[in-house]
């Protein structure tokens, strides 16, 4: 300790030293510990020494500045509370003007944090000049940063200053540089909620109109959100009076990027502008929807397809049938697979809107066609959302078409597609019923245990467990478990391994009897497998089974037992039955599991011995 002189102990000296390092990560680490240094200095010296030092001497790499800009946002407690918050502003102001967007964004974020902690007077005194400086700066970076500050500052100043701020913001809206206009359009959305309706009409609507007619599509597309924000504030009627014409222009914009944005926000737009007005919806929005469903760019059709159910809920069933449904029929055959996939995720949402008869008449043929689509994602998306349709018309009408679709997806070349369909099998099973499942899908589920991809085999075991939950233990004992055990004698050790895992995965959902009579003997066979990986898997499985057996014995009733009538005991016999069960279980553990583990403990393979020991310890 004595080697450290008092001079070196001066915390800023430590910081200076650290910031000299060649390695950027060390400099970043030092900045991340800035609060420690500030605490060591105390608030007074932090204000008078540390902050000026940071302001003057920092010309470091952007990565370091980003961290520093972030740190300063949380610095108010270290400088003696919010009454001194203004000392933090100058460094952040200069960070707000640098080239690197990450630094700028962090600086703006931190400035906003500080503004929220300041009093109104402080904001008037310190933030207004800062915002003005940034807004009137020469270079666009400062102006871009400025746009992000208005919303927070605006809330805290007097109404007189508010007028000034709006005027300043206007300068940004009318700026020459498209970068600034884009930033202004983006942040206008956040500012609008803090302005009263009258002022919005007078001051903000002209901003919107100017930006919405910008030469650059990258500016125009940002005005959609502004329009939604304005509409939420003013209510649909005022908006229709002032902005409907402009909106119509945006609907038919030349640039696909703008149309994409409109399509993406279509439901919100309809709600904000035309809520409750059948006429406007019918005369403007429905035709716009129809045009976009037929748009020349697949990107636009993809996003508008996702808006179909939401929008259709707003308009009457009549215009859905008349205008929109014919376009959807075209989309089913769209040349772009992405459009069809997007449609497949959303089309089911129409079923509740249309009701049973119309769904059968119009939607069912589309479902059937999309189930045959050449692109797997389309089929998958239809199957995923089947529940909605099922609730309306029942699954019977679809079951015949479903089967080939499922079988195909189950054999798809892409393992992710196979994985996705496996995850839906339990849901489908519950809807299709045991009989249908047994005849059509059961073999598929077993086949997955032999898939080439591990993730599929893994998912397949989980699937068997979930199916057992649906159909009950008796079903599992009769159909699945023999198959699993059969797979345990496969010459390929990976499949035997899968069987071992499957047996363990199934254990939680079956009864003690099944474990004792089927699973344990099966594992005992595998315990002498020539492959050590299987032997140690068995060793680990024993532990799991032992734990499960004890749990099952202690539980009064198993859910899955309910499915099996014969084992339902009467309530008064409960306690006695439990005692019997616990005794049984202990016997199984003592006579079967422990001796087998003891054998594995003497195994020639070190890993097997390790896991056997571990399991034995756990059993105790």
């Amino acid at each position: 300790m004595s080697s450290v002189s008092t001079d070196e102990l001066y915390p800023i000296a430590v910081l200076i030293d650290e910031l000299k390092h060649d390695d950027v990560s060390l400099r970043i680490a030092a900045i991340e510990r800035l609060s420690t240094i500030a605490l060591a200095l105390g608030p007074d010296r932090t204000r008078s020494e540390l902050i000026p030092f940071l302001e003057e001497s920092l010309d470091d790499e952007d990565e370091v500045l980003t961290v520093l800009a972030e740190q300063l946002g949380n610095f108010v407690p270290y400088i003696g509370g919010s009454q001194y918050a203004n000392v933090l502003l100058p460094p952040l102001e200069s960070f707000a003007g640098v080239e690197e967007p990450l630094v700028r964004d962090k600086a703006v974020e931190s400035l906003n944090k500080i503004v929220n902690e300041m009093s109104s007077n402080q904001v008037e005194e310190y933030l207004l000049p800062l915002v003005k400086n940034l807004t009137t700066a020469d270079w666009f970076t400062s102006k871009v940063s400025a746009t992000g500050l208005y919303a927070a500052v605006y809330q805290k100043v007097t109404s007189q200053s508010k007028g000034g701020l709006r005027q300043l913001f206007g300068q940004l809206v009318y700026d020459d540089a498209p970068m600034v206009r884009r930033a202004a359009a983006t942040h206008l959305t956040g500012l609008i909620p803090y302005i009263d309706a009258e002022t919005v009409v007078a001051d903000i609507v002209p901003f919107f109109l100017y930006l919405a007619q910008d030469d650059q599509d990258s500016v125009r597309l940002l005005t959609i959100d502004v329009l939604i924000a304005v509409s939420r504030l003013l209510g649909p009627e005022v908006v229709r009076e002032h902005l409907l014409e402009q909106l119509k222009k945006l609907f038919a914009d030349k640039s696909w990027r703008v149309r994409y944005m409109v399509a993406d926000r279509f439901e919100q737009l309809a709600l904000a502008v035309a809520a409750g007005d059948e006429m406007v919806l019918k005369t403007h929005f429905v035709p716009a929807m129809v045009r976009m469903l037929k748009d020349s760019e697949a990107e636009v059709r993809t996003v508008i397809a996702k808006q179909i159910p939401g929008f259709c809920q707003l308009v009457g069933r009549e215009s859905v049938l008349e205008d929109i449904l014919p376009c959807i029929e075209d989309l089913v055959n769209d040349p772009s697979q992405h459009v069809r996939a997007a449609l497949a995720t959303k089309i089911s949402g129409l079923a509740p809107i249309l009701g049973k008869d119309l769904t059968i008449k119009y939607l069912l043929p589309m479902f059937l066609q999309m189930l045959k689509d050449e692109f797997p994602e389309v089929r998958l998306n239809i199957i995923c959302k089947l529940e909605l349709v099922n609730n309306v018309i029942g699954i019977d009408l679809l079951s015949q078409s479903l089967l080939p679709a499922i079988t195909q997806l189950a054999q798809d070349k892409q393992w992710r597609v196979r994985l996705a369909i496996i995850e839906y099998i339990p849901l489908l099973a519950s809807q299709l019923g045991m009989e249908f499942f047994d005849t059509q899908l059961r073999d598929l589920c077993i086949a997955w245990l032999h898939d080439n991809v591990y993730s599929i085999r893994d998912a397949a075991t989980e699937n068997l467990k979930n199916l057992t939950k649906v159909f009950g233990v008796a079903w599992a004992k009769a159909t699945i478990i023999p198959k699993v055990i059969e797979a345990g004698s496969n010459p390929n050790y990976l499949y035997r391994m899968t069987s071992c895992v499957a047996a363990t995965t199934l254990a939680p959902v079956v009864t003690i009897d099944v474990i004792r009579d089927d699973l344990l003997p099966f594992l005992n066979n595998l315990a002498v497998d020539p492959i050590p990986n299987i032997r140690f898997s068995v060793a680990r499985s024993y532990e799991t089974l032992q734990r499960l057996l004890l749990e099952k014995a202690a539980e009064p009733e198993l859910d899955s037992d309910a499915m099996v009538e014969a084992t339902t005991p009467a309530p008064d016999e409960d306690a006695r039955a439990r005692e019997v069960r616990v005794a049984d279980v202990n016997e199984i553990i003592r006579d079967i599991i422990v001796p087998n583990l003891e054998k594995l403990k003497e195994d020639e393979d070190v890993d097997v011995r390790f896991f056997a020991n571990k399991s034995l310890q756990a059993i105790g």
């Binding site: 070196e8 105390g42 970068m179 030469d215 696909w256 760019e297």
Partner: protein, 623 residues
Amino acid sequence: MKGFKQRVLSRSRSAHDQSPPAGSSGSSATSVQSSQSGQSGKSTNAPTGNSGSTSRSSRKDSSAKEQSSRTNSDSSRGSSGQSKPGPSAPSIVIGTPPPATTTSSVQPLQPSPTSPATYQGSPGSASPQTTVGNAVNGLSAVMHVPPPGATETMPGDLTAPRHGQRSPTFDRLKTGIPDEIGSPTRRHHSSRFEVSAKRELEKLPGFHEVPATNRQDLFFKKIEQCNVIFDFGDPSSDMKSKEIKRVALHELLDFVSTTRFTYTEQMYASVVDMFARNLFRPIPPPVNPVGDIYDPDEDEPVLEIAWPHMQVVYEFFLKFVESPDFQHSVAKAYIDHHFVQQLLELFDTEDPRERDYLKTTLHRIYGKFLNLRSFIRRCINNVFFQFIYETGRFNGVAELLEILGSIINGFALPLKDEHKIFLTRVLIPLHKAKSLSLYHPQLAYCIVQFIEKDPSLTEEVVLGLLHYWPKVNSPKEVMFLNEIEDIFEILESPEFLKIQVPLFQQLAKCVSSQHFQVAERALYLWNNEYFVALMSENVETILPIMFSALYRNARGHWNRTIHTMVCNAVKMFMELNPTLFEECAALYRETEEHADSKEEHRQLLWKQVEESAKRNATDTMVQ
């Protein structure tokens, strides 16, 4: 390695050349260029994973050859006797208002795929063009002197480097379009035009078939025909009318390039309007992967299916603007800010052929319309800012930089502040983008141009490069090192003194890089005589910086080549100043020994700071 050799080779070749490209910039432009052609040659030899690659790669081979031969200068292209079957992009001519002398040299039209033999000019007729090229080069050399009062000139030639990796693709296109376009598996994502409602056209007489007094009228009628937009997505539709429009376009092109005519204001209006109707359109969503994942050799470029018409419209417009009868004072009412803005937006097109024409068109407009120059520069800057800071994607960066390379070449001295700001706030940040590889040669050319104009900018440039030095992207790091060497070519000794410390700190890191290509590229600098000369003059400063990096790697590097190169570099330093070397070695050993205790001391300091921080924190709590 190959690129390097070829580069030296081609430089000596260009020295022997009879007519080197105009201006002092010629040699450096050539060197940049030929280094790329070396690269592209290398990539050609690599096996391509494509099926049927034999025919494709042989095609590429020839195109690469063609490319390298073209780098020397226009004249060698003619004499080497390589006939180019496809149309080449219009040769780039002078941007300043043409003096009367150009009228004598009427440029032959390049044959296009749409007009095979019927149209004038046979495929092998490259020789007349050569003479034009030479004349142009000679002229531009004269005109390099700025006219009185001008703040900048336009140099004669857009000799800025072509993009090495893209050019072969481009050449491949020229020969390969017809069969590729028909294949059904291609993802067509061409622009969508608003097809005209009335598309029936009737054949009009040719210009030579009517009396001179009726020609203006016929001109308007033909322009009117060209305003009709067809649907090329359906090849069988309106075949007859499409052909009529094509012929009309060619006749117009022929008319403006061969006939002297006093154009009326109305004619300017109709020409610009026709250009706008045919070409200004929203650029469709991108098809190919964006940025550096885009592989010009693997990814099929997206082609405009309406190109047969679009190309002739571009050619016609260019010839119109280049025509000696073209008066920019009349045209400026129509070629305005809005026009330029829309033209710039087209640079995002994915069709490399179109970008090439756009480049020439905008360059020509920049040359002719002095009143638009600063606006054009500003708009290009805005495109770059959006590219750098917002989207990270724009297809035409390389082409715009080529134009700028030519513009910078023409800047008058001393450089205006505006141009210096352009260097530091636009060009240098362009190094940041991920897809740098797609436009780096052009960018490096611009940077070198600036330093050549004003050597005092060297410090700012090099510090800027160091600021944006890639941290994890090794291929990009190699590009930066290339650029550093380019800068060394023109580096002046006093400027070197200003940058040597930070530069060699970075070079030390590069030499120690685990990526052998980075280390190799850095160590290549030791083969550069001028570099070594500057280094030996300042060895007292440099060796202490480089020592630990060299010493550590001399003891062992996983790559044997690097190991040898490092050993050579160490040997060189040892011979340069043996006493200094010994001192550095001693110092190095000492720091190595004390490294642990220093680290301990550092931890100790932090601990103390933390303790006093804790104390203070509880104090404040008590209060």
